[in-house]
């Protein structure tokens, strides 16, 4: 059973069930919209070349739903969208299945493309969901942190260690911002909008 919030033309939800892209497309379908963009995030079978057996997601559900709604409302307004919907799956997600779906509709396609990407980036930076990658074997699982693309904390009991950044592109070198305390930057796709 999904936990969901709806406000105006924004819909957000968390569920332990399979995600259904057709129903998420239908949620944003509108006669005012000439474009619907769907993003489907699926679970990958490796992290930096290391085989991943399955992924497990946990969430602070009431807090995450509020954050998802805030993101959707601001993306909707910034891009003049007709409608936006975002759903994240929790619990064990086998490899190759959808863990997140975002759908946006707008009168024209450019805004929908941009808004979909921006909504995803903000979600990955802020929404209170945590992913654990199970590598199988004796290693146990590893918590990921989106902010640096690095391996997080090993889960073996009583033997917690932090790993150095090991993402495919190396660590992200960016000075911290006041009040940020470890949460990653939000990537805005249209920096030219700050120009003349």
């Amino acid at each position: 059973m999904a936990k969901e919030l709806q406000e105006g033309n924004c819909y957000v939800a968390l569920t332990h069930d399979h995600l259904n892209s057709a129903s998420m497309i239908d949620r944003v379908r509108s006669p005012n919209a000439g474009a619907i963009v769907l993003f489907a995030g699926t679970t990958r079978d490796n992290f930096a070349g290391k085989p991943v057996k399955e992924l497990q997601y946990t969430s602070y559900e009431p807090r995450a739903l509020q954050t998802m709604l805030t993101i959707c409302k601001s993306v909707l307004e910034r891009h003049g969208l007709t409608s936006i919907a975002m759903i994240h799956r929790l619990g064990i997600v086998p490899i190759g299945e959808e863990s997140i779906l975002i759908t946006v509709s707008s009168p024209h396609r450019q805004a929908a493309w941009r808004a979909g990407e921006e909504a995803l980036e903000e979600c990955k930076a802020k929404v209170e969901v945590w992913k654990k990658e199970e590598f199988g074997g004796e290693e146990g699982g590893v918590w990921r942190a989106n902010r640096d693309g690095a391996l997080g904390v090993r889960v073996n009991d009583g033997n917690v260690e932090s790993e150095p950044p090991a993402g495919p592109h190396g660590p992200i070198l960016r000075p911290g911002r006041l009040g940020e305390r470890g949460h990653g930057a939000v990537v805005h796709l249209n920096p030219q909008s700050s120009g003349p």
Binding site: H88, I100, L120, K124, W130, N146, R147, V153, G179
Partner: protein
């Protein structure tokens, strides 16, 4: 992940998510209230040695679902966690 059960009188509930749950080996517990928010990290450090440097310094904190500032200095004034409050340790997130 239950966030429904209330803390007993004189206590607040603290929730540990993701990597925080591995540091404490529990998803939640009840701690004595009131507690100045500035003393939260040292209180947890006493119970779980090493948690401050290994985890808490990269975490955010919510009280009753709202993000709060942790004063740099333990003696600084700041909000006080009250009986019945729900506090959560929010490690760096990894949705998507």
């Amino acid at each position: 992940m239950s966030t429904s059960s209330k803390a007993p009188p004189g206590h607040f509930k603290i929730l540990y998510f993701g990597p925080a749950e591995n540091h404490t080996s529990k998803s939640s517990e009840d701690l004595p209230a009131p507690l100045p928010i500035a003393k939260l990290f040292s209180t947890l450090e006493e119970k779980y040695g090493g948690i401050k440097a290994n985890l808490l310094e990269s975490c955010l904190i919510t009280v009753n679902l709202e993000y709060v500032d942790i004063p740099e200095n333990e003696n600084d004034e700041g909000m006080v966690i009250q009986e019945g409050d729900e506090v959560a340790i929010i490690p760096p997130v990894s949705s998507g």
